[in-house]
Structures are given as C-alpha cells and as structure tokens.
Symmetry: C2
Subunit: 235 residues, 2 copies
DNA sequence: GTGGCAGAATTGTCGGACAGTCCGATTATC
DNA sequence: GATAATCGGACTGTCCGACAATTCTGCCAC
C-alpha cells in the first residue's frame, strides 16, 4: 500500500530559506511587526545571492507572513490577513468546481453556529455593523451587484460578531463562492429580495436581544431559502 | 469619512505578471495539467527579465496554482492541493492565537454536519478508510503521538466520506490545530482514550448503517467530550 | 517497441549593475 | 527652538550575462 521508497525531493535554496524564516515566525522568534534585515543583508547571512533571497521572500509574502507598509521599503513580519487567506481558499474551491449543494451544506453548518454565538457575544458596535449591512441591502435593493455585496457584508458581520476567529475564517471563503450564484438567483427569483430582508431583520432582532436559539433558527431558515431560491431559479 | 484620494499602490512587475497568469488559470484559459512555457519564453512574451518571471512564478507556486511533477523541469498548471491550502489556513489561525473554545465551537459546527452527510453518501471504500483509522487508533492507543495522528485521520476520513469538498476543506485546518491540544489532553485525562474509541465505533456504525441522524448525534457527543477533556486537563 | 545516447533546452544560482525611491541626518529658515 | 529644505546613503525593483546540473528530445541501434 505504502511505497517502499520515498521520493527524495531536493529543496532548492530559496525554499529552504523560506522555510527557515517561516519557522522563526511560527515559533514567534520573529514577531509580527518586527522588521527584517535588508535583502542584501539576508543574502550575506544565508550566504546566497540576492536573487535567491528575493524568491524566498516572494514565497513568504504570498503566504501573508511578510509584507510592507504602504510605500515603505523595509520588510516586516505581519500576521496573515484573514481576507487574503480566505480568498486563497475560495479560489482553490472554485478551481475544484464546487457545486452549489456543497457550498450550501457548508453554509448550513457554519452560519447558524456563527449567528448563535453572535447572539451571546456581540458587542454594541458589532450589532451596529449588522444593522448597517442590512440597511445597505435595503437601500441598494434594486442594484443587484450592490445588494449581493450587502448580503455578503451581512454574513461577514455576523461571523465577526460571533467573536470566533475560526468560525469567521471558515465562513469567509463561503461568501466569495456564494456571490456569483446569489447574483443570478436574486435576479431571477422575484421574492428573493424581500425574504432576505425579512430574514436579516429577524436575525438582527434575535442577536440584539441575545436570543441565541432564535438567532440560530432564523439563520437556518435564511440559508434554507437560498436552496429554495436556487431550485426555483434552476427550474 | 472616506479619504478624498486613494493611495496609489504601484504593482511591481512580478505581481502584475503573477496576476495575469492567475487570471488565465481561474478563467480556465490555462487548464490543470497544461504545461507553461519556459521561463525564458515567458520573459520574452512579457518583455521582462527572467528574474522577474521567476519571482512571479514563486508567487503562483506557493498558491499551489503551479507546480512540477516530482523531479520534472517543466512547470505545469495544477489544482491547489487541499492539504496545502488548509495548512496555510491553520498556520494563519495559529499565529492569530486561536483559543481552544474557538476551535471547539468550529468543530462543533462542522464535524457533526460532515458525519451526517457521510452517513448518507459514504462509499464502501470510504467506510473502510474510517474503520482503518479507528483500528489504527486502537492499535496505537498507547503511543500518544500515533494515537493523535489516528484521531486526525479519523476526522479526515469522515470529512472525505461526506462527499463535500467545502466541508472537507473547512474541516482540514481544524485538525492541525487540534493535534497539539489533543496530545496534551490524551496524556493527562485517563479516560480519554477509551471514550474516543467508543465514540469512533458508534460513529462508524451509524455511517455504515446510513443513519445520518445517529451519526450527527454521536459526533456531537464525541466533540463535546473534547471540551470536557480540556476542562479536566486544565483543572 | 525498447534501450541508449548526444545535443538542445531549461532550471537554479551566481555576480554585478543601475535607476528610482525612501530614510535619516544635516543644514537652512522663520 | 521648531520647522522646512537639502543631501547622501541605503534599499528595492529590474535588468544583463553567465554557468553547472539536470531534464528533455530526437535519433539510432537492436
């Protein structure tokens, strides 16, 4: 079953260097905010050419572990931004041709949980953010693209209010995948907009009153509507 | 509120090139398996130096969009491997200092759903994989590290059996985060091993018999045990 | 068709170079 | 003395050219 011999993968220098630096960051020996030595310096320290260092840096930069302040020259250690990470995930999922049912099942698992926890933990400002997102949806309800963006914003706000980074980061990629489908659906299913608005209202109410069970139930209904909408649209 | 002028972020050439290639891949104009032109060729086409091309390639390579067959020279378009993607996510979460309750809540949302769908959709071989993972846990039950690996393998197998790529990819990062905590817990809480084994058995039974509700419930109990274990361990 | 082989092609790494920009210190100005 | 203009050094982004090691390819023998 398992191969007898493992393939020996030679590590190019740039990858070894990237790994070494990554190790340091993960081990907190380099901490977020720290500035890295200059490329020339790194090249000297590692005993390689600057070009090699640059390739290593690119690797870490795309992982979000290194970055520069806007327009700054010096490189510094940064925490991977959730938005960057999740866009990578959703791109991967998109390339793997995820179907709507798959997406929907995942939303059905995650969003209600997020809503439930949001109801018990939301701060006042997070509640405001929710209300703002819903208001924006109401305002932009005729502009399909803006409306979809508002729906995504609403989900994001719920996840943020859940006070759970893991849930938030699990949820974020779903939004990006949902957008295209939702755009079609919202245009072709007449009652979709009204139902979304109603659900958002109920969810906000529940979260405001800290009724976690209510929040979960309404979010479930909300997500179920997406499936119905998708079925209607497809027929 | 909003700034009058947007900061103009200049995109270095290597990033522009990376974006262009990425676009092609996402738009399926370059499809998985296609081989890319040589670096020299790309440099000519884009009208830049080979070093610049190389930096762009590194970027796409770390995103998992490009890769080489083992020991091959020519670069080809590849689908991002879930394992690569999820390890990036879990590293990001680890750096953000995720707490156990956060992790636990996410598991509580995702794993039962995965188990439920696995019960309705699992193939025979996926069922076997589940049994294998559990058998391995039983066999290695005294070797902490191997036992933890087996637990992770079990969760992975459940997610795979769910037939849902989105759930699987949402779940994968959780495993990597769970491992260290579980290692401590399993060593300090005497009854942990037995309870895990029992839960795995019940879950496998339910999935084998396609009792989705049972599968969900037992998975919930299983995950709840982790919280209890964690509380016991902490005390 | 299989195996082997020489030459072409390609990658990984190197050294050096240069323009544009950012940073810090120094000097000039009010 | 505080602020503004100035200047040199440091650093990045990009380029050029080069070379060893390895892979790829077309060809030949069997």
């Amino acid at each position: 079953m398992t191969d007898l011999f493992l393939p020996l993968d030679d590590h190019p220098a740039y990858r070894q260097i990237a790994n070494q630096i990554e190790q340091r960051i993960v081990a907190r020996s380099l901490r977020a905010g720290d500035t890295l030595p200059s490329e020339t310096d790194l090249a000297r320290q590692f005993g390689v050419n600057r070009s090699t260092i640059r390739e290593a840096i690119r690797e870490l930069e795309t992982h979000g572990l290194l970055g520069r302040e806007r327009g700054a020259k010096r490189l510094r250690v940064t925490l991977p931004k959730p938005s960057r990470v999740s866009s990578g995930v959703s791109r991967a999922l998109a390339l793997h041709d995820v179907t709507f049912p798959e997406l929907w099942e995942a939303m059905m698992a995650i969003e209600p949980a997020a809503a439930q926890h949001a109801a018990t933990r939301r701060s006042a400002s997070q509640l405001q953010a929710l209300a703002r997102a819903s208001a924006r949806f109401k305002r932009e309800i005729t502009d399909t693209e803006a409306a979809v963006a508002a729906v995504v914003e609403f989900f994001t706000a719920v996840a943020a209010a859940s006070g759970n980074q893991v849930l938030a980061l699990s949820q974020a990629p779903l939004n990006l995948l949902l957008a295209p489908t939702l755009t079609r659906m919202i245009d072709r299913v007449p009652q979709a907009r009204a139902r979304i608005l109603e659900a958002q209202g109920k969810i906000i109410d529940a979260i405001k009153l800290k009724k976690s069970e209510q929040a979960r139930i309404w979010m479930e209904k909300h997500i179920r509507d997406f499936k119905r909408g998708h079925e209607l649209e497809a027929s």
